[in-house]
């Protein structure tokens, strides 16, 4: 398929964009990447996603697809010759979708909150909830992987991509907050999985370096403080 048939509107630090990039890599799809600026969205983005005005947006043969989880499922359904992303069994699919929704709706918002929280007590409270979530995900990993290396079994699947795309920010927030969330003691399965996932060829080079994200977080924090500072 010609490169210009597939275009991804994205932003390098967005884990939601990263997950689409990983899926595209898994399917060996050639695509054009357009970097969007948060405070200066392109005409194409506003036209392609008028409802949410957000990245990622996949444009395939001039037709836009929005929302990262929907895009990943779309890729899986169109590029059927590549490795499958979602499991084939309906119950396993429902399980993968359940945990993807949990990660997106419950777990990641806590991580974002921790990134900007100050004060040891407040940080401790949020990190406790995050760790509880990680214990749930560790159990899910054991059930879904069935003794193999990934949530998807022997190969990377939907839940690997969805949760794995947050690993960059997870490491960055650990550094910013000065604490460890994933570790060999409490979540050994996840700790080993994280290494395996990040070194997978479809993932390498997609998830940004931890230090780069830490720097970006500092810039964002400074900007927010400047905006809300008394004049």
């Amino acid at each position: 398929m010609a490169k210009s048939d597939v275009k991804l509107l994205g932003a390098w630090p967005s884990p939601f964009v990263n997950r689409v990039q990983i899926a595209l890599n898994l399917k060996s799809v050639d695509y054009e990447f357009q970097e969007e600026k948060f405070d200066n969205k392109s005409e194409l983005l506003l036209k392609s996603n008028p409802v949410h005005k957000k990245v990622p947006v996949l444009i395939h043969n001039d037709k836009p697809i929005c929302e990262s989880l929907i895009i990943v499922q779309y890729l899986d359904e169109v590029w059927t010759s590549g490795p499958s992303i979602l499991p084939s069994d309906p119950y396993d699919r429902a399980t993968a979708r359940f945990w993807a929704a949990y990660v997106d709706d419950k777990w990641f918002p806590l991580l974002k909150e921790l990134r900007t929280t100050e004060g040891e007590e407040a940080k401790a409270e949020i990190s406790k909830k995050l760790k509880e979530g990680l214990v749930l995900l560790e159990e899910a990993f054991i059930k879904c992987s069935k003794g193999k290396g990934f949530f998807g079994g022997e190969r990377i699947g939907y839940l690997d991509i969805v949760f794995g795309s947050f690993l960059g920010w997870l490491k960055a927030v650990e550094k910013i907050a000065g604490l460890k969330l994933v570790g060999e003691l409490v979540t050994p399965g996840l700790a080993a999985w994280a290494e395996r996932f990040c070194s997978h060829e479809a993932v390498k080079g997609v998830i940004p370096e931890t230090d780069r994200l830490v720097e970006l977080a500092k810039i964002i924090q400074a900007r927010l403080k400047a905006q809300s500072a008394p004049k």
Partner: protein, 218 residues
Amino acid sequence: MAEELILLNIWASPFGMRVRIALAEKGVDGYETREENLQNMSPLLLQMNPVHKKIPVLIHNGRPVCESLIIVQYIDEVWKRGSPLLPSDPYRRAHARFWADYVDKKLYSLGKLIWLTTGEAAAKEELIGCFKLLEGELGDKTYFGGDSFGFVDVSLISFYRWFNVFEHFGNFSMVVECPKLVAWAHRCAERESVSKCLPNEQEFFDFVVELRKKAMTK
């Protein structure tokens, strides 16, 4: 194989209604419904949905499926009878998923701002805006799915009884603001799968009024 199907639900829940409509569309009626009470959850609910402790939960041969839209997709994938709820074309599927997701992201939380408070103008404008956007997406089609009743129809029609709650507490008229959407809702309500799952209009309204009283006195 003898199939065991149990639905943990609450009669007034729009989310539970989605599951019931989907099962009805597939001609699946040999299942047990257990009425839950969120103030006093059954051990089965706590065991089957320990993460969220919410309904609906569909227990199929002992295995739980949670989250209404995930359950609806599961039903669509397991029971192949009748016309599929999701289209077969990947682009149209993505489109349907997008709009069902939009309903989930916006309607319930915006709606709450209307009926749980004392008339916030901004929330009302946003909710009406939401309905108008959905009406635009419907266009002149019979259903959101086109000629066949589908995924987006199921996700939105489950909020039908909420329409006059929003109208009442938001002080506006749905038929004035989005007549095509109201016509669509009536069409859906004529389907057997929907009409048998809709709670009684007055009973539902009284239930919300009670909830509102309790919430506002806290």
